[in-house]
């Protein structure tokens, strides 16, 4: 995790410096806000990863000499197929159409989104494919 | 590689590489000398206008410098690619040497571009300060852009020139005088662009842009809106007429007579379409 963390912390350092330079040369608030925001965007996950790296050490994918056997075991559960992303996507589709064309799209949109959220949660609790 | 006697592919390759090295050694000093040598003789305009204002001429010189730097650097890289592509096309199924790192070359091609960029930046800042300088001037013109036309207002005498689309207005300027333009927009963002002045600037609502022109030659220069501003953006034309200071004084003191306001012209064009 070290390199991963350092990439993100590098983002934070770079934009911290650029943000400071930008503020003290222009006093323009919009750009400075965005640069500070970008600095935080690197800092938060970066320091979290670094903390994890300190806690757990190198994983097999971090060690140049790791063999395939070192990574043996279950990686994760990957759902083979699921209808809920499609339902959720169509719900979001209708939701934005409501903003463009009028509120009659709003109710089917909310219906689809709620159904999909319930469906996907239930699917996860049952453990993958339904 | 079994090139014991005859100059096999491996040997040819080494000769090619040596040639390439010689070429590189020759090109680097050329890259440094070229601008100096070229400055002595007539440098081509590379397609740009020479600039009808003193500011425009400064920008033009910077353009020439950048273009020469572009030719040298771009040409060098272009030849390198071309050489690599033709010289190392596949001749047999042998696996070439798997070279991955050559630190000296890598440092070289990092440091040299940084130096080039530093040079370009210095010239940019010098020119930028010349182009953007707003010294005290004798003539001020308030330019207001609107959908889709221009108003030129001369506060010293109250003279107004206004026109829209095909009935394009003409701004009159004295030559050899610093003329300050106050540029603003009445509605959306427009672009005030006179190609032969080598200059453009946005006309924005709520913010006045200030810049100077010092026109060198009399003549009529065409201008146009460059920033998309709606339906008739393509027709938002104007022109700039540069006259002698005496002619300008005579012109600017004539009363402008009856003229439409910006609001009236906007209504007119929305109702009747573009045209006089």
């Amino acid at each position: 995790m070290r390199i991963e963390a350092l990439v993100l912390i590098g983002v934070a350092i770079f934009f911290g410096i650029v943000g400071a330079v930008y503020w003290f040369t222009s006093y323009e608030d919009g750009g400075t806000m965005m640069l500070v925001g970008t600095c935080l965007l690197g800092l938060l996950p970066g320091s979290y990863y670094y903390w994890w790296h300190r806690r757990m050490g190198d994983r097999p994918e971090d060690r140049p000499d790791a063999t395939v056997e070192d990574g043996a075991g279950e990686i994760a559960t990957f759902p083979g197929s699921s209808i809920w992303p499609f339902v959720l996507g169509m719900g979001a589709f209708m939701l934005v159409l409501a903003f463009a064309f009028g509120m009659w799209f709003f109710f089917p949109a909310v219906g689809l989104i709620l159904t999909a959220l319930v469906g996907v949660t239930a699917e996860s609790r049952r453990g993958g494919h339904v | 590689m079994s090139d014991a006697v005859a100059p096999g592919p491996g040997r040819l390759r080494r000769i090619g590489a040596r040639l390439a090295k010689v070429r590189a050694r020759r090109i680097v000093p050329l890259a440094i000398l070229a601008p100096i040598v070229l400055a002595g003789c007539q440098v081509p305009d590379f397609g740009a206008f020479k600039g009808a204002t003193s500011q425009g001429q400064d920008a033009y010189k910077l353009w020439q410098g950048f273009f020469i730097a572009g030719i040298v650097v771009g040409g060098f890289v272009f030849l390198l690619i071309l050489w690599a592509v033709f010289r190392y096309r596949r001749r047999n199924e042998a696996v070439p040497r798997q070279t991955q790192y050559r630190p000296v070359i890598e440092i070289l091609y990092t440091v040299v571009p940084i130096l080039i960029v530093a040079g370009l930046f210095v010239f940019t800042v010098i020119t930028e300060n010349e182009v953007d300088a707003v010294p005290n001037s004798q003539v001020t013109i308030d330019v207001t852009a609107f959908q889709w036309g221009w108003q030129f207002y001369y506060p010293a005498t109250g003279k107004v020139v206004i026109g829209q689309t095909l009935d394009q207005p003409q701004m009159v300027l004295p030559i050899n005088r610093d003329v300050t333009i106050h540029l603003e927009s009445a509605d959306v963002v427009h672009g005030f662009y006179v190609p032969e002045f080598n200059f453009s600037r946005y006309a924005q609502p709520g913010y006045v842009n200030v810049f100077n022109f010092n026109v060198l030659h009399t003549g009529v220069y065409r201008g146009q809106c460059t920033q998309l501003c709606g339906l008739y953006h393509s027709l938002m034309l104007f022109s700039v007429k540069a006259v002698t200071p005496a002619q300008f004084d005579a012109w600017v003191h004539q009363t402008s007579g009856h003229h439409a306001t910006i609001g009236q012209l906007k209504q007119q064009i929305r109702a009747n379409g573009p045209g006089a």
């Binding site: 083979g80 699921s82 992303p85 589709f93 | 206008f49 425009g56 596949r90 991955q100 963002v189």
Partner: protein, 579 residues
Amino acid sequence: MTDLINPPLTGNGAHGTSVIDIIEHREHAEHGPTGILKWLTSTDHKVIGMSYMITSLVLFYMAGIMALVMRLQLATPNSSLVSFAQYNELFTMHGSLMLYLFAGPFAFGGLANYIVPLQVGAPDMAFPRLNALSYWLYLSGSITMMMGFLVAGGAASFGWVAYAPLSNATNSPGAGGDIWIMALVLTGFSAIFTGVNLVATIFYLRAPGLTMFRMPIFTWNMLVTAILILIAFPVLTAALVMLFCDRHFGTHIYSVQGGGSPILWQNLFWFFGHPEVYILALPYFGIVTEVIPVFSRKPVFGYKGMVFATLSIAALSTGVWAHHMFTTGLVLLPFFSLLSLLIAVPTGIKFFNWIGTMWRGEIQFSTAMLFSIGFLFAFLMGGVTGVMLASPPIDFFTHDTYFVVAHFHQVLFGTAVFAGFAGLYYWYPKFFGRTLREHLGKWHFWLMFIGFWVTFMPQYIVGLLGMPRRVAVYPSYLGWQSYNIISTVGAFIIAASFAVLLWNLWISWRKPVVCGDNPWDAHTLEWFTTSPPPHHNYSHLPPIRSERPTWDYNHPEAPAVGHGEGREPHRRDKVTVGQ
């Protein structure tokens, strides 16, 4: 299915014995739905990636047809082929489709989705269902965007940059603008989700031994792109929501009358917009960096330098947004000029890496390699003019003219189209286990290469003569017509090349040429599995000891070396020759 998965037997190495089945997962797909329901419900990154690619290619052809109509309009000075309003809609939609819906999604939605999990040795993306949601948001966003043409008042017509206050309700009334905003909100979320997914996949699902500095450059570039997406797209989405509020809920965020600031839109938009340019470019740099080493039979020259160059391009690209705003008179010129010029340095490093990779290689001119070389020339030209535009005094007289149009088309056409189709020809065997027809591919390349220069070089000249962009008509007495006619002819040559591509896709599909798992003798991990890869990708993995595991497995005698390493035999050879 597992009986189909065998380790490739092309290798002659002794390392091949330690392949071990490492993936334990629940096999669902074999019992899952089929047909259209399979497409609707699949969470397999390969199916989603393919859907992304097909959708974005359809949109690419649509946007291309719009470009042809515009070029026909401009072939004569006062043409009335389309009206002013239609012309404004055409270039707005051409830009929006190409930038938001083709160039980005084709790379980070399509190719990255398909290739990145394979290159890191993962069974799927980290969040497969989120990945599927990304695609549905992208598809519905694309449909929403195209709906603009169907509503009264027409599609959005304020340019793909939608500058305030032109994009407000007074200046651009009608549903077209709202539809445009909503389409981008959908695709924006789609991009953000894909970005999250890519980062998580690359950070957490790499195979053992595949350290960060052994990842293929394509995967590195996709990681950096994903981080850029996470920086840039939330800003765009927020800016769009505020624009919508200005249009409908009476806020005055971007209007002077209510105390707002129109320049804020430009700041927000370009803070997204410039990283977006690199979101569009970096994946394609990655493709080229996969193709050139394989067809030169050499490792990527200066691999680590290239990674750092990518990182610094990405970092710098987020600090240069206001170079699109030099002519506003409201930005700090030297700051943005310096950072913009500095981007030339890492970009130059990449060029020398690509040249160094070809240097002393054995270059095979496959179609993919030709497209990559075409990319080098196109991007070189676009890059050199880009350095000119980074200098404010030069930008002042080229901004918003056809000079800029030519510049960014050379950059984006060079990356998204040349490199993008290099990727298509290169990975097509991976997707289907068949090749595209090479001779048709060469026709496609040469027509496109010629058309590219014929189209865009005259635009530089006519731009310097003062022709502004986004004009539907131009005066006839200025001598601009001849350049515009040449440009139009070029556009039709490009169109012909894409007709060849369609024919190639059709004939290669109907009469397949089967090519085996690893037809290019490629380097990276994705070529270790079968082509097309099985569900969940790998049953076996080779030992990963460099960034070229498949090459190491097939060519154990030829590992990558640094300068000076392993030189002794060559020296001795040379002496023998001399005597």
